[in-house]
Symmetry: C2
Subunit: 657 residues, 2 copies
Amino acid sequence: MSNTVVKIDIKQQNLTDKQLEALDLMWKESVRDILNCTSLAGCGHPGGSMSSINFLLLLYSIANISPQNMTSPQRDRVIVSHGHISPGLYSTLARFGFFNSDEMVLNYRKFGSRYAGHVESTVPGVEWNTGNLGQGISAAVGIAMAGKIKSLNYKTVVCMGDGEQQKGQISEARRVASKFNLKDLICIIDYNRYQIGGAISDVMPQNIIDNYKSDGWNVIVIENGHDWKQLFTGLKKAWNNEVDFKSHPTVIIANTIMGYGVSFMRNGYDYHGRALTVEEHKKAFEELKLENTLNDLKAQRKKLPKDSCAPVKTVSPTVKVNIGEPITYAADVMTDNRSAYGAALADLAKLNNKDVSKWSICGISCDLEGSVKMNAFRKISPENFIECGIQEHHSAVMSGSLSKEGMQVFFSTFGTFGVDEVFNQQRLNAFNKTNVKTVCTHLGLSVGEDGPTHQCIDYIGLIRNIPGYSIFIPADPNQTDHMIRYVASVYGNFFVGMGRAKTPVIANENCEPFFGKSYKFTPGKSDIIMQGNDACVIAIGPMLDYVLKVARALKNEKGLNIRVINAGSVVPFDRDSLIAAAKETKGIISVEDHYVKTGIGSIIDQILVENKIAVPVIHLGVKSFVESGDPEDLYISQGMGLEDIKKCVVDLISSSK
Amino acid sequence: MSNTVVKIDIKQQNLTDKQLEALDLMWKESVRDILNCTSLAGCGHPGGSMSSINFLLLLYSIANISPQNMTSPQRDRVIVSHGHISPGLYSTLARFGFFNSDEMVLNYRKFGSRYAGHVESTVPGVEWNTGNLGQGISAAVGIAMAGKIKSLNYKTVVCMGDGEQQKGQISEARRVASKFNLKDLICIIDYNRYQIGGAISDVMPQNIIDNYKSDGWNVIVIENGHDWKQLFTGLKKAWNNEVDFKSHPTVIIANTIMGYGVSFMRNGYDYHGRALTVEEHKKAFEELKLENTLNDLKAQRKKLPKDSCAPVKTVSPTVKVNIGEPITYAADVMTDNRSAYGAALADLAKLNNKDVSKWSICGISCDLEGSVKMNAFRKISPENFIECGIQEHHSAVMSGSLSKEGMQVFFSTFGTFGVDEVFNQQRLNAFNKTNVKTVCTHLGLSVGEDGPTHQCIDYIGLIRNIPGYSIFIPADPNQTDHMIRYVASVYGNFFVGMGRAKTPVIANENCEPFFGKSYKFTPGKSDIIMQGNDACVIAIGPMLDYVLKVARALKNEKGLNIRVINAGSVVPFDRDSLIAAAKETKGIISVEDHYVKTGIGSIIDQILVENKIAVPVIHLGVKSFVESGDPEDLYISQGMGLEDIKKCVVDLISSSK
């Protein structure tokens, strides 16, 4: 057998005999690869791969995707949400020339190879990494939205499992797709009726058809998802928009059979997540009348060098955005960082969103447009503003996929919702090398009266767990403006966080804005706001103003010279200024509107230990869940009020005498 | 006006005139309280409180709840999911004598008082803290499930907003409620058609009726949710099960008006989240023909002592569970910690689940029963095993609410799903002082070929952000058994985490199991597995065996005596044994199958800095997202292989000479 690429025109009436023959051949080759690669690896998911393989093959024969146009903006996009069926997808991609099928089979799930256990974009042809279920449809909605904004008319097709339809996030994605009339979005569900734990009807009964209909989708049911003609008819209808609600997306529910193609695997949910044994493999190949070369392949796999087939390296695209000139808030202005964020974002929209076919700025909010100050942006650039409702899980993933389509995406909501609620979605975005600027407001006890459910005190502690995710906390409206323009200028995932309350403009000794026109924000660089060697206080966000008040008072009252550092770039942290302070002053005090065990205090400790520096160190921060109340009272309750900070500094200095 | 408690029998045909009159009076008093308490606090959510107040009042007049029976197992339970309508709920509870309404009005959202900004159980009569939307229905499902398991026949009623229906978690909760035939569960939706960002039809169009129907619920629509008679008819039908699908739950959709009761507030979504100004308040009171005492109240509020009305303190219930005798795995047994967990859980079920009206053990899984080894438990105690499907957000909250109903709840899935995906749900559980034993398997690179989406490398880094949540990582099957029995014996939230792979039994010098019959697991206590003063290596989980191999080899080969500590109790951490090791040996090395920046390494650094100890410290752990492959290869790729650990120890010792 040899790889035979067949491309089918969606406009043709029926499949030709030649096409049917070619599809049959590809099917057999794919089943062979699925069974070989999983049995070689000794693990993997053949069952769902075999129920999905028919529609995958037909889909790739129809879609405008090939190894030649993988970077073309016009190409159709395919996402596979049930990432465990990587053998099914990889064997399909091999048929269409994205890589050599033998290479895939030999290297599947092998350390150092690109052919990862779940669907990953280390593999040529893969658009989006999946593995955690229920995420792919949100990614597809983001990509379809980009096509709509840029008027590119491509199709976005997301293939999904049936079990994963249970994930609530899917209902969020469905509503967003309907709201924005994403008519070029098609979902295909592999309805084989089994999930890892058994029959869906036992594990978690669901009514997929009515679920989709209730959210405004067109539904096409294919009685036999292994019949090429039926699949073609269904795909044709969806592709050509021959549906009732022409402006809405369409789902194709393909009735399939788990383990289709091998008699003893049929409906065997045991084969969802395990490879065939040598004996079973032999039996299957006999039944399929395929030449069994498993032993030979095993020998070859053993001999492979470790780096025989390394992951495809991707280069981050160059961002072409005009970040304009910073807005400077005078030293006597009283506003909040949120408003400064809103003004910067509006400015960026004015400068960049006239031609959305180029790099543009996009805003996503979750029913909190007003609170996160996106109103002005929306007015200037309504087509690039996406209001997703109270559906944060979907919104986070959609932000990620959209951000890979030539857009600087600002995803904004309260910290509790943009960090705590969607941590895993942020993690999966990072893993997908996305380009999301998560700007969260209402951090910390600054939220005050809304109480502990809304007081996000773990934004550093959580996001620090995601390798490569930067964290910036501006001290005032001016630094907010600089940070927002910075993150707009580069590719990558960034978190910029702020409180709710008004924040005084930080001034230098001449009473001019510290973060004025001449200031340049640099990741990994702290700002020394006041010089001094009696002690060093490191603060972030709203606490900087508190600390400065204390430092000035101590200077006037006691003649003490406190070094005050603003650590706005939390990740990466400025190691040098910390080490210098530890060596040059009598000790370090950190102050943060964050859980004290997992914020900048923990970063400071790590750097000190790494550098074998033992100096007096005190960390002030939030000690536990806090209650409703005025922020001032709440800070005092946590030992972070003005007097507390003052006492702490004085005690540290006197104890070290 | 005075507080007039009216109780209504759900069996009566119609509301009497006297009851109608009393309801009207209560309504007026409640509106007065809502407007007063929010204007006094200068913030809060009057709009939705006023659209919800009619059904809240009628509900409490029907339900079997009173200040007298708040701890009775037979009482009906009310959950308010849209926690921002606390003025509505609190003013209702005041009408029914749970507390004095003036006290509430004066103390609302005040620092130090029990009357929190969002609905909190610091307030007498509140069953479950809410504030983050879309969570309450899952809590209600858990409580209704407890009633079903214990045959208590109480009603569980959850009141919800309409905007929050967008949250995907609600669809998960709906399916679970239908699957388990929770016919005594009633939802009431305040369908006022506005959310904070504007009309729902603009922000995120939704089809609530069809959404519920598609998941098998009975739907009752009340045309005018401010008409007592219509509300009574609807509630009667739901309460008495006069519905089509008698075994399924019922939702009542009450058409209401945002800001109902004051003409200029009607449909004003601006009033969703802000208090009336003094001028508006005056106008409203004139229209309502209510005596305006705002100025007087303001003066009174100012004079209140800070602790005039402190939160209600709750005492954790005493758990009555027989934890039996530990199972000991002999030193030559090769099994995985997961299987040891499954065996311990099955044993606990045998010992405790004969009479489920008493404290019993409950198991919740998300389509991974087999992988997390809950099969034996299920066989022994099918009625206490709850399979929730691929619906982790719901499952985490349901575990929480169920755990407060006299059950030790074991919630088990893979680490990625039980930690990363549901972090916020775990946070909200902790805030609700729940009693969940989250036992996650498939942690770390031990997952191997399933790749980075499934490799949970942040279980410590995340859960450490939740105050009061303990984290235990067993080193072998024996310690697993001890830890599981321990967490089964106490009230509170615990995380017990383990990998996928088989783990050798840790043995002492006599080749007997280290964690044998005589071992007792104590939180906050590490285990010194090998004594020595040349260096100290602290390990957790599967890395302990690696470290022991290295230590033994170094003893044989170089005569080095390495102190090997197992830090199974990660939170709380054993400070004393760390400090002793830092003082008595040449340096500390930590080894963990976890992201190196946020695991035990960061805890160690904090303790050292706090104690001003500067010694050589090296942390070995996972440095970034890792790929698919054999765990052994993956460890080596992260510099954590046997040879890496060995080199690290030798280098540390030689550098300190």
